[in-house]
Symmetry: C2
Subunit: 215 residues, 2 copies
């Protein structure tokens, strides 16, 4: 495989760079909210949005009239970043205090999906959000399909940065009396709350009881 | 107060737009990792990084040689987004499945800080990451200060989007037998892990025991 393109090459803290495609895809599979950057009037724009990936593409969806999806529809370059925070790194010096994290940045252009692919991917978005729920919901209406665009970006030009483990303190600080270590953090779900207008007699399905949040 | 500028005006799901400065600052105070978008060669770039805010500015720091900080140093426009995920919204239709979240987007140009301001803000970064630890760490060395840039962006051109509560299902779906509701999610800390090379006899300080992760 060829090396990363210049824009996908990590310049700072290159020791934390990650280019292994399988590792990067595993990071992408561990979250569901990304930030998408694009350019308008020569200036940066950015939005947080849901995504999911299969082995070849990252998928985005949204209102067809949204600035981002119109930009993508015109072939504009986007930059998608996914960032998982894994912990706070408490070093003996302020300089080495940091975070443990896994992030992936993907560059590319989007390709709009229509017809059966469009419908299938919208269904996959429901499954990515709440696995099992895609079997429960009704089919999208024609108005819903007309309102919602789906685009995919190939997982070809991507790179990542990963930091794990304890602080990397300077040799000279190891005799310090300052506490050092790591405080892991994780996002976890809490108890589900049924809608107040839920019809009587509807039980909470197992896929809601057993749901685990990714990200 | 004047209304939001065009680029800071929420176009999609405008009912979720938030322009109240106090509310937006409270959201910014609830997290510490942002995504910064900028433009290079006419294309979007993006990095996740730590930040903190006071009442007037959002602060970023990083290696002086990083592409982002060189861009900011040249007066380039940036777009900073902070996104807190609060829950998964499980609707009776796929179309209305969503996330509960709070996000803020800030536009502007950065201003580099030097001298005492530079030192003070680096100290504030330690305090923002692990409150109390800024009292424990040694002073930065001249090399560390030389390596690290600090910039601030005024909190003047910003807007937000907030979604809370149960799904907003279509009237016609309320008689559906599909379960609907919300699954809250939260990021929480786990037990702190001391560095293996910690000097014997160093106890975990109360500010580590009582640390609460923001974000």
């Amino acid at each position: 495989m060829a090396g990363p393109t210049p824009r996908a090459t990590v310049k700072r803290n290159a020791r934390r760079a990650e280019y292994d495609t399988a590792t990067l895809k595993a990071i992408l599979a561990s979250d569901q909210v990304c930030h998408v950057a694009y350019v308008e009037d020569g200036e940066p724009r950015q939005i947080p949005t849901l995504y999911f990936c299969d082995d070849e593409y990252l998928y985005l969806h949204g209102n067809r009239q949204s600035a981002l999806l119109r930009y993508v529809g015109k072939g504009g370059e986007i930059c998608v970043t996914v960032t998982l925070v894994d912990g706070v790194v408490v070093a003996r010096s302020g300089f080495h205090c940091s975070m443990n994290y896994r992030s992936v940045t993907l560059f590319g252009r989007g390709e709009a999906l229509e017809g059966k692919d469009h419908l299938d991917i919208l269904n996959e978005f429901v499954r990515a959000l709440v696995p099992g729920h895609e079997q429960a919901v009704r089919e999208p209406t024609s108005q819903e399909l007309a309102a919602t665009a789906v685009v995919r970006i190939p997982l070809t030009e991507l790179s990542g940065k990963v930091r794990t483990g304890p602080p990397a303190d300077d040799e000279g600080d190891l005799t310090s009396s300052v506490w050092a270590g790591e405080i892991p953090v994780a996002r976890t779900r809490q108890a589900a709350v049924a809608s107040e207008d839920l019809r009587d007699g509807i039980e909470m399905p197992d896929y809601i009881k057993n749901f685990e949040y990714r990200g």
